[in-house]
């Protein structure tokens, strides 16, 4: 589904990614862990098509297509979703209107008819029930005055509505208390299927107790320095990152 080969990216002349290799297949959940400044958020932004970064080497394939030249919206229409670490506030645009626009623009991008309003409302209600969200949420302005937890829940809500093939969750656990973490994880787990895949970017292993990954990768200085199964996350939790950093420099 996603094939990243030898990806190098920089911003303002600073190299951030220095040769990432990653392959994600349908049905898989990959966790990317690493200390602050290792390039985790850059990787997700580059995959989603943020234009501030310059890709100096390598390739990104998604759903069998080279997506390097595609705009963020085109990548989104193909089924790529990024849950933001810091979701943006948009005053005056309600959650409902925003989602309606996003869903129908995506459908238009794929050459589909707009979703009937009735179906959309029904689906919104179902997803909101799973995420234990209050109805009043729908008429509030996007992220305006939302607490940290509400913002993240709103991201997962949008993800569930857009039904992406690949979702990248960028530090979705930051700012969540334990209850919110459980609810959000539950929402993600319900969406897991043989057809879609997830990349979970996190600093802590805590989230991975709830969203259990198939693979764990450790990112350091723009490179994946170690990959393993879910037990690698536990090892990191007890030993920290330092032993890996040393290993990597040897």
């Amino acid at each position: 589904m996603l094939k990243i080969k030898n990806l190098h990216a920089s911003i303002d002349g600073n190299d951030i990614l220095r040769g990432i290799n990653l392959e994600v297949k349908p049905g898989e959940v990959h966790a990317i862990m690493g200390p602050n400044g290792s390039g985790k958020s850059t990787l997700s932004a580059v995959i989603a098509g943020r234009e501030d970064y310059e890709i100096t080497e390598g390739s990104i394939e998604f759903a069998g297509e080279d997506i390097m030249e595609l705009s963020p919206e085109e990548r989104s229409h193909m089924g790529l979703f990024l849950s933001f670490q810091y979701p943006v506030e948009i005053p005056g645009v309600s959650v409902t209107n925003f989602l309606k626009t996003a869903i129908n623009e995506s459908r238009k991008g794929r050459g589909q008819e707009p979703m009937p309003a009735k179906d959309m409302l029904k689906k919104m209600r179902e997803v909101m029930a799973v995420l234990e969200m209050d109805k009043s949420f729908m008429s509030r302005s996007i992220n305006e005055g939302f607490s940290g937890g509400e913002k993240k829940r709103n991201e997962i809500f949008q993800m569930a509505m857009l039904e992406p093939k690949l979702a990248i969750l960028d530090e979705t656990d930051s700012g969540l208390d334990i209850d919110a973490l459980r609810i959000v994880s539950n929402g993600v787990n319900k969406l897991r299927s043989e057809k879609n895949a997830f990349i979970v970017i996190t600093h802590y292993q805590r989230l991975l107790d709830y969203i259990v990954p198939d693979f764990v990768h450790v990112l350091h200085k723009g490179k994946i320095i170690k990959s393993g199964g879910k037990e690698l996350a536990l090892e990191l939790e007890s030993k920290g990152y330092d032993w890996l950093k040393q290993e990597a420099t040897v």
Binding site: F81, P91, G92, F98
Partner: protein, 439 residues
């Protein structure tokens, strides 16, 4: 500019001769005084501090027809798009300065919604009491307007009455063959605890240059509620100089919305006198301009009495070579304690060639007041754009959505649903997107 000034001065003699009996009224004495003021002052130049950023030379170096001829072939369906509603509003419509009765819907029941010329005949008491008593008679353009003042809208709401339908005032100009100069004069007098809601529009229908020098005086008596909307979406050759002055008594509320979406030069002079305690003035403006358009908002709020409040919020979006000017003055008089004055001007520049000059001016002579002001000039937030595009919303629509979001707090107090819809459509068209959501 001197040539056109001379033409106006000689036109005054012609105009005066047309008046016949009208020459002996007190109002005509005002016209005479006013033409002297204009003769002395002429058109302002950029040397005048108030006109520093708006050069009128390119406009008034041209010649204009001052005496326009009537045009009776227009039908409602030809101009339907400029109206809010076919039947649910009162309408005072002018074509080339002449009252178009067949497009209008006026009334004298319970309150008066009619023409200024009709009021000169049948409401002399109100004319003599209010006309010319609110406007700034020493101002160049107000003086020029007063000199020729004869036609425009007249609204009089007696004590305790509420006008239950919005009132549409529309000035149409058929400038197909000649450049035109017109000078509408409006008077709105709202009595104690009375209310009304007005939508005003100036629209040129031809390709030649047109200039409108419009003066509106609004009087809000104790407890009166007045909401006045100006929709400025005229053609590339149309200019508007609008001077609106408001006088407010105890506990009255007057809200002026100014929507500037098009026109070569649009100058809005808006001035409030808060004369008695408890008065509230709201000034909201949204300007969305492109090409070589210019909008210049000059506002003055005079806090004369204590315990008054003013809220001012102007938002501007400028693309291409468009220019914006905001000059907002708040004047708190020595005895106006407990004044609450808020002023903000936020601007988005979408192109390197677009520009904004913004100048808040606070003159405070009382010590127990709350006054705040702020202005910002910026670009669209890149993070927000990326966020929207990541959710599948294309670049242009994402830009438009953020611009909608940017203007939304200046739109939130709109009471008329038809107007809100119309403005949403106008804004969407102005930003050349089709968005299927409402605010």
């Amino acid at each position: 500019m001197d040539m056109f000034k001379d033409k106006l001065l000689s036109s005054f003699i012609v105009f005066e001769n047309q008046l016949n009996g009208g020459k002996n009224t007190p109002f005509h004495q005002q016209r005479r005084k006013a033409i002297d003021v204009f003769e002395e002052k002429g058109f302002p130049t950029v040397k005048n501090e108030e006109w520093k950023y708006t050069n009128l030379k390119p406009i008034f170096n041209k010649d204009y027809n001052v005496f326009l001829s009537s045009e009776e072939s227009l039908e409602f369906r030809d101009v339907r798009r400029f109206f809010l509603s076919e039947s649910d509003t009162y309408k005072i419509v002018f074509i080339n300065g002449f009252f178009a009765s067949w497009l209008s819907s006026t009334t004298h029941q319970n309150y008066d919604v009619c023409t200024f010329s009709a009021a000169l005949e049948r409401h002399r008491d109100i004319i003599d009491k209010y006309a010319g008593s609110i406007g700034r008679n020493e101002d160049n353009f107000t003086a020029l307007n007063t000199s020729f003042a004869r036609e425009g809208a007249f609204i009089h709401v007696p004590d305790g009455r509420a006008v239950e339908k919005p009132i549409e005032i529309i000035f149409l100009t058929t400038n197909n063959e000649n450049n035109t100069f017109s000078q509408p004069r409006n008077l709105v007098v709202v009595g104690r605890n009375a209310s009304c809601c007005v939508v005003e529009r100036h629209q040129s229908l031809g390709e030649q240059a047109s200039v409108s020098n419009s003066v509106t005086e609004i009087f809000a008596d104790e407890g009166a509620q007045v909401t006045y909307h100006k929709i400025q979406n005229d053609g590339e050759n149309a200019s508007l100089i609008d001077s609106t002055t408001v006088k407010q008594k105890k506990d009255s509320t007057v809200t002026i919305h100014t929507f500037s979406f098009g026109g070569k030069v649009t100058r809005n002079n808006l001035e409030f006198d808060l004369e008695e305690p408890g008065a509230t003035a709201n000034l909201y403006g949204i300007s969305i301009l492109n090409n070589r358009q210019l909008v210049d908002n000059h506002t003055v709020v005079n806090h004369i009495a204590p315990h008054c409040q003013s809220n001012e919020l102007y938002k501007g979006i400028y693309d291409d070579n468009a220019r914006g000017v905001f000059n907002g003055k708040v004047h708190v008089y020595p005895h106006a304690q407990k004044t609450n004055a808020f002023q903000e001007n936020n601007n988005l520049l979408l192109a390197d060639t677009a520009s904004v000059d913004t100048k808040p001016q606070l003159e405070i002579y009382a010590d127990d007041v709350k006054c705040s002001h702020g202005c910002t000039i910026g670009q669209l937030d890149e993070d927000a754009l990326f966020y929207l595009r990541q959710r599948g919303i294309p670049f242009k629509e994402a830009q438009a959505l953020l611009m909608f979001a940017f203007t939304t707090d200046a739109l939130q107090n709109l009471g008329i649903p038809e107007l809100k819809n119309k403005l949403n459509r106008l804004i969407a068209r102005k930003l050349s997107v089709s968005l299927d959501f409402d605010l």
